[in-house]
Symmetry: C2
Subunit: 313 residues, 2 copies
């Protein structure tokens, strides 16, 4: 049983960190804006898998105050990754596991380069969840986790993956261990790339996207390019994975992807790690992905503009 | 010197038909909603090349009332082409010239199939103009015309092109005669495809598009696909044409493309002839154009939704 520090107590860190704490793991949280509220009121999670509250949690507002923990969960948005190294510095010691629960591509390589003494693991969260207020998380649908170790296979990485899997599964979180971090990241991009950008550009949730023939064709076209990008990087994603991802989204509670929520709250969007890094990786291996490039440029254009909540009438 | 009937008295028909009338050609206009106003007040054109008014014009509100004319100019939006054959029926006789001043691909083939006895000519309008009210047109920039005959080269088509060129050039309209209708149509799409869709999707005029690096890259990417589509259809457009089109737009008075204006007034958009037909033509010849497909699907999505004027704050 590992102990945990959670950097970023929002829709992801609040949910998964909360689940780990609820099942009896030692969990410390880092929060900034919500620190006072969480310190006074704890965490409350409304979850499809069962609501729970943690009236008192070990929360800190400075990374240097976090106690030493076996596993550091990174659950900030990648838009904050400019400051991530500094946040991790006091928390990472030789042998610390850094579990990167972010969306995009290339985050683990950066963390491993900063901290060669750490064991870096990717966590792909297949979840519909949202922070609904300070210390408040709503978990609407799904919730399983895929984990994969960065770097070559080793007894150490296998042990770490097994212990993480055990901790999460005892905390009501289903876990799949993937032997390939790269493949697992691209499989997650298969959802993130089409739905995040499309929801922002068309001002639509997943149900509207799936119920309209034009946007349904759009997400399929984008998914097919993700498969091509993955293939260029050496990861074979079977064609049926596209159909499965469409069905997965058809069954989903109508949902605003995280980028749409960020945009609605005028926060920066995760364009860099979710779009530009995958495009760069594919391009360096000779694959141009024009539909994804279009979405990336449109998002960059929108990011450069002030935002009015919605143009719906 | 030809006589003219103008079907559609808006930004294009009002300007070019007005110029022909101003220079002394016999010109009859078809107008529907604006008929009474134009009958009472004529046409007024505010033009970069010199303002002019035609206090009294020969205007009709039924196609069957149009007098017999040598040339019928089609200057409706292609969104009205479902009713075009019926409008042309009373106006087209053996030897009538039909000059199609629309944007898109494939209109001339349809007109020629309906009226094999007519001589069909494409008119590509490189103009920034806008209808500002009934019988009122604002011509902001550029204004030249490229014309090309449909069907095989013949003495008849050469004569027709020469007489049209003479009429327009005596009416302050520069004319280029192209030997290839297909090539000329794709060269016009080189502007229409990137700027029309981008302006609608990003809620931006040409200056905003050109001044923002992301959208500037977008229009270049779209132009490069237009060049690939043209090549698939057998028309070689040199790579420098892309740079020239970007420079042409850089020099342009900030402009809302016609599709953006249509969208702003909640009118249907010219998606079919401007996007779907070119995509189909390229696809039938083995060329997929994913960036253009993305724009087409986004426009189809937006067309299926009610429109609020602008999401700018």
């Amino acid at each position: 049983m590992n102990s945990y520090a959670v950097i970023g107590t929002g829709a992801i860190g609040g949910y998964y960190g909360g689940r780990l704490a609820e099942s009896g793991r030692t969990v410390s949280f880092l929060a900034r804006g919500d620190y006072e509220y969480i310190k006074a009121n704890g965490l409350a999670v409304a979850s499809k898998a069962g609501d729970f509250t943690l009236p008192s949690v070990d929360v800190h507002n400075r990374a240097s105050d976090l106690p030493e923990r076996d596993v550091v969960i990174v659950s900030l948005k990648t838009t904050a990754n400019g400051g991530l190294r500094e946040l991790l510095l006091p928390a990472v010691r030789p042998g610390t596991v850094v579990l990167v629960m972010q969306n995009g591509l290339g985050m683990e390589e950066e963390v491993a380069a900063w901290f060669p003494e750490a064991t870096v693991v990717a966590g792909m969260c297949f979840i519909c969840s949202q922070k609904t207020g300070p210390g408040r998380v709503s978990h609407m649908d799904y919730g399983s986790l895929t984990i994969a170790a960065h770097g070559p296979d080793s007894a150490r990485s296998r042990d770490v993956l097994a212990s993480l899997k055990a901790d999460f599964e005892e905390s009501k979180v289903g876990v799949t261990v993937s032997p390939s971090l790269g493949e697992a990241r691209w499989r997650k991009l298969l959802w993130n790339i089409p739905y995040n950008g499309t929801s922002v550009i068309l001002d639509a949730d997943t149900k509207e996207i799936m119920d309209t023939p034009a946007s349904r064709r759009m997400v399929r076209l984008l998914m097919e390019e993700v498969v091509r990008g993955a293939a260029a990087c050496g990861y074979a994603i079977e064609a049926e994975a596209v159909d499965r991802m469409l069905e997965f989204t058809d069954r989903m509670t109508p949902y605003k992807p995280s980028m749409k929520i960020d945009r609605d709250f005028a926060r920066p969007m995760e364009i860099e790690y979710m779009y530009l890094r995958p495009l760069k990786a594919a391009r360096e291996r000779g694959a141009e992905l024009p539909a994804i490039s279009m979405v990336a440029e449109q998002l960059l254009f929108l990011e450069s503009r002030p935002y009015a909540r919605s143009r719906k009438v």
